[in-house]
Amino acid sequence: MPRDNDMEETLFEAPPEGEQERMAEAILFASAEPVTVAELNARMPHGADAKSALERLRKRYQGRGVEVVRVGEAWAIRTAPDLGFLMRKEIVETRRLSRAAIETLAIIAYHQPVTRAEIEEIRGVSVSRGTIDQLIELDWVRLGRRKMTPGRPVTFVVTEEFLDHFGLESARDLPGLKELRAAGLLENRPPPEAPGEEDDEGDQSDMFEETTDERE
């Protein structure tokens, strides 16, 4: 064991093995960079044997969440490789669904089972594959039975997850157009009048007809 004339060394014995291990542990933990054996020996009290302390420490950490590893000539404490996934932090960003996706979803909910062609007919524009894929990925829409029409096209229906998310018992609980209008969810458009209703309105509709026409 190397000895010199330092006061420390003449007064104290080398620390016990357990203490040396603690010391190496604390130094490795707090150092910003990997620490060489020579540096550990220099920092630990005289008579300490950093090399064997490191070896014992390495064994102690085997299988733990962190490991004592050799980095070139130096030593460091690092996360166990199998736990690397914990060092990823997921930031969940909530975004509103696009208008196209919402409309497509609404059509599927109201008209299910519905084919892509039917969705396009109702929306008046073509539906991109990505829109339906996104709804399927969200687990709000799934494939229904094929339609027994020429070409046997696939249909789409809404899922249990959809009902759960929107707080519905069934898709039938979705309010109809009249209810939507009553709830103020439709623009100020009057409904297409049934002949009976027309008679009820009588003179008024005569007076305001021009207005109605202009609104078209």
Binding site: M87, T94, E103, E216
Partner: protein, 261 residues
Amino acid sequence: MPDGDAFNDLEARLTAEALIVDVEGFEGPLDVLLTLARTQKVDLRQISVLALARQYLTFVGRAKSLRIELAADYLVMAAWLAFLKSRLLLPPDPADEGPSGDELAAHLAFQLERLAAMRDAAARLMGRDQKGRDFFQRGVTEDVTRVRKVRYTATLLDLLQGYARIRTKDEFRPYAMEREHVMTMEQALDRMRGLLAYSGDWANLSAFLPEGWDGSPARVRSSTASHFAAALELVKAGSLELRQSEMFGAIEIRRAPGAER
């Protein structure tokens, strides 16, 4: 420390002088009072506030004689202590409504004890193991990779409004909805061409209006207008004659005499 009045007096005097020299180093009058109180060598709870007031007034008096500028709050404290001293020395005046000298003295003693306690607590706090001096945090931190995950969401309201939007878009389609109330001139023309063969005599234009178009005023007006326009077209083509006997009178039509059947 040896006991004895002479020694204590000497020490108190030295302390008082040191106080004046170091007045800059004091953190206000309460700090001076606390330092003076320490010279009484008793528990702060048993301190003689009267003696303390005397010590403080002496301190301020000496500072003045040495022409040392004292901050205003030191002088305010001196004035207050002079008042306190008089209260403590004179028998209580029953007519006086203010708090008694003893109450004021007790509060001053409380303040001193509390300040001393805080000093002590501060010293104990700073004497604790401190991070970065006695214990250390991790030297190498592993950056947490931030993974952005987008979650799309929609509310029931979005859904309902989306559906309403699509359905009302149909209603906005020009003419589509109102078609049942509108008769075009072309439609009227087709009808009239077919009917003309049977109208050798003057007949009211309104008689030519189709069935089902005489109920609602909207339909009456649309069909009247289209038939009138159609009639004008036929007149222009030379296959129809048209007359009106008076202003706002009935419009009558008949097949033009020379027109082919």
